[in-house]
Amino acid sequence: MIRARCEVLSVRRAGLYSSLTLVAPEIADAAKPGQFVQVGVPDGREILLRRPFSIHQASRRGGWAGTVEVVFDVVGPGTAWLAEVRQHEFVDVIGPVGRPFVLPKEQQSCLLVGGGYGAAPLYFLAEELRAHGKNVAMIIGARTAERVFKPIEGKRLADTMWITTEDGSMGERGRVTDLLPDVVRKTGAQVVYACGPNAMLRAVAEDALARRVPCQVAVEELMACGLGVCWTCAVPLIASDGQGWWNVRACVEGPVFNGARVWWDRWLGDAEEITPAEGFEPMLEPETVEAGPR
């Protein structure tokens, strides 16, 4: 983790979303897909806490020019402030934070599933996977066509790409999960990666588990610090032997988790029981290689 005052290179619209590019050479050098940055809000505001944004692109140009790009939707006072930040202003950034996606050692066929602007880190991941010689298929979904995140870039990056919208205004009508079984069959996906709304992650992870396909999800949970000290971003994670569970921190133990080990019922639902009666199945942990500078 590095803390830096970073110059804003650009703030752009990306469809209905905003995209912020920061001059952050050290963070860009260290960044891996799935990791995020914590952007500090200036003093003198009613809001205090940093805002986490997953890294959409890290361009490692060596030396001084490296940049990090994040994508966001204006959903509250923090993102409203950020959308008004101007070029050449400086913002306080900590990053890269968290555990990244890991790349498969053996498996060749990778499927990336994204919802809304949550798909942003998957483009970074797709580049890494391609650089490691993997086949990349993508399904990107959103409510409407204008909320589909960077479909053209997606088509350029992926070997095959599907788009879904709930209103049918782009691609197939429906949700990414409607298309999932068909795409998994067609692509012979051996590894699934997902990023987007937590309910979508759950559906993707459960589908993958049923097919015995390893699945990594990048989750989102409210975090006060993003540094591993506040313990607010708790995700109930099942032990790797299936015996018991523990609340882990999405910021430092995540945000990328093995989808089969997240106890979705307890995290997203209202599971009351403290320990599952019959334990969990032992989980799929494929051999992996770290993503990173090529």
Partner: protein, 337 residues
């Protein structure tokens, strides 16, 4: 006081006051700066070490440790509020056995870097006693903080600091079991905090940590649901500072010889000075660490600048110096004025 230190020259004949020292002595418990990291906001410093020079942090109060592991509350555990935040973690921690195994070597490694205060929480007097026995011998631990005021517990009657007699029982049991100084961390959610403070001191508390988060609640008006999984939670951040300053002032007036660690919404050096003026001997910074990992260092530097500007020698020169004599005050509580 101001200006009565030795007069020095800078070699060019200009008279300058002596460089202030940030060292504080809380009746035998010493810190290199009066700005410590508060419990639940710094763990044991391991994660923060990447972003802040721990040798410049006045001290670290660990996240509270309990006898057995606790998994804590369901999410959402946090809600941002105006100039503050609510949290309901529920004292999640690995329990004292694993704490000893994993954190003791790290804490020992902090010897000579920064002093550590272990915070203890529990559901019963017995639990506080059992944990005290298991942490009292850890090298690097200069004090124990009795967290008897966490609002995120299953039942309100587990907030021992809401009742002077219960607070006394816990602090008494802990103090009898160790020569390590015990600081009692109190809540402002009581009618008379002075009464609780006095009970803790009578029971053997070396000092007092004032204050813990305030019990609060926030509701999502779209869904009609509480914003926290636990419904209620602890309010922290600048929003609670005036409440904390008031508590420190009241307790310091009643117990001027008892070391007070002032806590509650400290974000700037000015905030820290305010607590010192109210009667704190040192302060702890909590929520500010979340958005500024270097907050403790930045604030200590600012306190040094403030002392230099005022020609003071150290934080003790500020302690309890708030001038209230010329103010007409209503008694804080019936009969206490």
């Amino acid at each position: 006081m101001p200006g009565d230190g030795a007069v020095l020259t800078d070699g060019r004949g200009i008279v300058s006051p002596p460089e202030p020292s940030l060292e504080v002595d809380l009746n035998g418990v010493r810190f290199a700066t009066p700005v410590l990291a508060a419990s639940g906001c710094f763990n044991t410093g391991r994660e923060m070490a990447e972003l802040v020079d721990l040798s410049r942090v006045g001290g670290i109060v660990t996240k509270s440790v309990t006898l057995n592991p606790r998994k804590g509350m369901p999410v959402p555990r946090m809600a941002e509020t105006s100039s503050g935040m609510l949290n309901a973690i529920g004292l999640q921690n690995v329990g004292v056995t694993e704490f000893r195994a994993k954190e003791a070597p790290w804490i020992e490694g902090l010897l000579g870097v920064t002093p550590v205060i272990v915070s203890i929480a529990g559901r019963s007097v017995e639990e506080y006693a059992q944990v005290t026995i298991r942490v009292r011998d850890l090298p690097g631990v200069v004090a124990i903080e009795a967290n008897i005021s966490c609002p995120n517990v299953e039942r309100r009657n587990q907030v021992f600091a809401c009742h002077p007699d219960q607070a006394m029982e816990v602090v008494g049991a802990m103090s009898r079991l160790t020569v390590v100084p015990v600081f009692a961390k109190l809540t402002a959610d009581v009618t008379n905090i002075v009464e609780v403070a006095e009970a803790c001191v009578r029971a053997g508390a070396h000092g007092l940590s004032l204050i813990n988060t305030l019990l609060g609640m926030a509701i999502d008006v779209e869904t009609f649901r509480p914003k926290l999984g636990a419904v209620t939670g602890g309010l922290s951040g600048p929003a609670i500072k005036p409440v904390a300053v008031r508590c420190v002032h009241q307790v310091a007036q009643a117990l001027p010889d008892v070391p007070i660690l002032g806590i509650g919404g400290i974000r700037t050096a000015k905030d820290a000075v305010e607590f010192l003026l109210a009667g704190a001997w040192a302060v702890q910074v909590g929520t500010a660490n979340f958005f500024d990992p270097q907050a403790t260092v930045r604030i200590a530097d600012g306190v040094r600048d403030f002392l230099a500007r005022k020609g003071l020698r150290g934080p003790a020169d500020l302690r309890g110096r708030v001038k209230v004599e010329d103010r007409v005050r209503e008694p804080a509580y019936p009969g206490s004025g």
